[in-house]
Amino acid sequence: MYRLTESLRGWVSAELEGAETARFLNRCAETGVELRRAVPADDFTLSLRFRRRELDAVRAAAEKSGCTLRLLRERGLPASARTLRGRYLLCAGSLLCALALLWASLHVWEIEPRGLERVGEAELLAALEKAGVGVGSFWPDFVNERIKCRVLYEIPALSWAAVQVRGSRAVALVREAVPPPEVVDEHEAVEIVAGKAGLVTELRVLRGEAAAQPGQTVLAGETLVSAEVHSSFEKAAPRRVHAIAEVYARTWYSLSACAPLARTETRETGRERLRLALEAGDRRINFYDSSRNLPGEYDKLTKTYRLAIPGVFSLPLALTVERYRACETVRTARDKAALRAALEARLTERLRTEIGETGEIREKSFSVSERDGLLYVTLRAECLENIARERRLTEEN
């Protein structure tokens, strides 16, 4: 702390030579000059340090004591300020930079959405723009309640929204609405039909009348469990119910997939071109002739360097470096065994999606063939799955 205050006040380091150095010190004490670190180098030489403003008093004391004062070094804020005298452009530039930073820190230059799952980022940004939150907005004017109301009005799929500003970065926090579950109308007439063709193995009827039996082959759309339930009383009319049942059946699948036996690869030739561009807000300044296309094929790698301190603030200035690496295409043969394994895995995955979580693959086999430069893999499988599907009964039914 002492060093900081000394630096702010400014200090001078000097050397005193004379026969009466003690007299000089006494004179300084009488006049109230505060000396720091008066160290005798020898009997006639003294090195000392004092405040810049006391220089005149120290010179006078040295003169009266018959000693010679030699200034060695001057440090501190006043000395630094003196070096800036006359450098008007530097001072003006520094002031301008400080003002620009202050102005920039009061505006939003980056928006980060968080909490999005089904709603798109572009949709949210458009809604925020309508709520007054966009790149370049003055963030002290933000009112969270107003922003929330506008965003929720624009995007009904959201249940909550808020904006937090950190430096020049706005974080848009959202929560998506949970869709209400489908309410089953217990009194609605619904029958159970076969979703796929198969051989029925088991029926678990909770409500309704079974219209199929184990061992029966059914086609897709056939009624498995009827919504009409007959009463045990003969004269009573049948009543309609919302049928609930699980019907397990053996089903057979034949799925195919193919892939080319050769593939096209790009290989870099070693030639590289560099293109630079400067982005200021929404504008882009290209430091190259954008009307000219590069001949041949190129891989483009783009890297953007933003003028920002991560997590603190960012300015609307970015340097974009585009690196174009020339490449040529080469056809190479693929490993058949690996290709076959990949296709088989993909077909198996597709089958599992078809039969659902409750389904079971009982048997499966693969067959492979080659034709016209393509590798064909066919999966034949027997599965056991729940084929029950609900179908609402209309007035005609």
Binding site: A22, E34, L35, L46
Partner: protein
């Protein structure tokens, strides 16, 4: 021969008052052997790395040591730092 106390010193001792407030004597405070403060001094008589002499009115001090340096000094007090070996009164 020991110095005789002055009338002011005797009066201060009798009245239980601080001696330095009445008598023309300096006050020396030594902290360990590295630091010394001399209050109510009348200036420096000699100043060197191994010897510093301070005038204190009726009593003068001679401080011997090594690497002695005057850290701060004003009209009433001075602060010395260094390796103090001995203090003499003359």
């Amino acid at each position: 021969m020991a110095r005789k106390p002055s009338a002011a010193e005797r009066a201060a001792e009798l009245l239980d008052l601080p001696v330095e407030s009445l008598a023309d004597v300096p006050r020396l405070t030594v902290v360990g052997c590295r630091s010394a403060v001399v209050e109510q001094h009348r200036g420096l008589l000699r100043y060197g790395r191994e010897l510093i002499e301070v005038a204190g009115g009726r009593v003068c001090l001679r401080i011997r040591g090594a690497d002695l340096e005057l850290r701060a000094m004003d009209r009433d007090a001075l602060l010395l730092r260094g390796e103090i070996v001995s203090v003499e009164f003359f």
